[in-house]
C-alpha cells in the first residue's frame, strides 16, 4: 500500500475496514492519554502540608 491507497481505501467497500481499524486504535489510545492530561489539571495543587512546608 501507499499513502494514497491507504486513504483511498476509505472509499472501497471491501477495504475501508483497514484505515478505519488503524484510526480506531489511534483514537482510543490518544483519547485515553488526553483524558489523563485533562485529569492531571483537575486534581487540586498540593498545598505542601505533607512536605512540611508550613
Amino acid at each position: 500500500m501507499t499513502w494514497h491507497t491507504f486513504f483511498a481505501a476509505f472509499g472501497n467497500p471491501y477495504l475501508w475496514y483497514v484505515p478505519t481499524a488503524y484510526f480506531t486504535v489511534a483514537t482510543v489510545q490518544i483519547g485515553y492519554l488526553a483524558w489523563i492530561a485533562v485529569q492531571w489539571f483537575r486534581v487540586p495543587r498540593r498545598s505542601g502540608y505533607l512536605a512540611n512546608e508550613r
Binding site: I36, Q39, R46
Partner: protein
Amino acid sequence: MVGALWTVATLVVLAISFRQAIFLVPAEATMGNLQRIFYWHVTNATLGLVFPYINCIASLAYLFWRRRDPLKALTADAWALASAEVSIVFVSIGLLTGMLWGRPAWGIWWTWDARLTTYLLLWLLYVSYLIVRRFSSTGQGHTLAAVLSVFAAIDVPITFMSISWWRTQHPAPVLRGDGKLDAVFWPAVLWSFAGWAMWGLLIMTFRYALERKRQRAEQEAALEAIEASLELIQ
C-alpha cells in the same frame, strides 16, 4: 529526561511499525490488503492479556500491605488502578479492531465463540473492577476490587488458550502452533509489539503519576481538615 526519551523512542517505534504494517510487508495471499488489520489488532489484543497480570500482582501487593504498611499499599493500589485502565484500553481496541476485521473476513461483526466470549468477559471484569472502586459505599471498595482483579486474572490464560482448547470461528494460533506466520510478515509484528508495549508502559506510568497526585491531594485535604477541627476545639 528518561520520560522524554522514552516518549520519543515510543513514537519512533510506533511510526516504524505503522510503516512496516501498511507500506513495507507484502499483501497476504488470501485476504490481500485486508490482512493488514492483523498487525495492530493482534498486538493490541495480546497486550490486553499482559497488563491484567500487572494489575493482579499490584492487587496482591495491595492486599498484602494494606494493614502492614498502608503507604506501600497506596502505591500498589495506584499501580493496580493504572494497569486496570490500560488493560481496558487494549482489550477495547482488541474487540473493536476484531469486529472491523471479522465483518469483511467472516461476514459477521460478532459471534459467541470461545475466544470472543472470554475476551468480552475480560473487558466486563475490568469495567466491573473500576465500577466497584468508584461506587462501593462500604469503605472497602479498593479491597473488594483487588480481590475481584485476582479472579479476573484467571480469565486471561483461558482467553489465551481458548483457540487451542476449542474449535472457534476465531483463527487458530498463527504466531505459535502449526499455522505459523511466514517470515516475511514478522518485522511488522515485532515492531508493532515493541511499539505498543512501550506505549502501554508509558500511559500506565502517566496514569500512575496522576493517581499518586490525587492520593496526595486527598491525604493533604484530610490532614488539613483534622488540623482545622483541632484549632476550633482550642
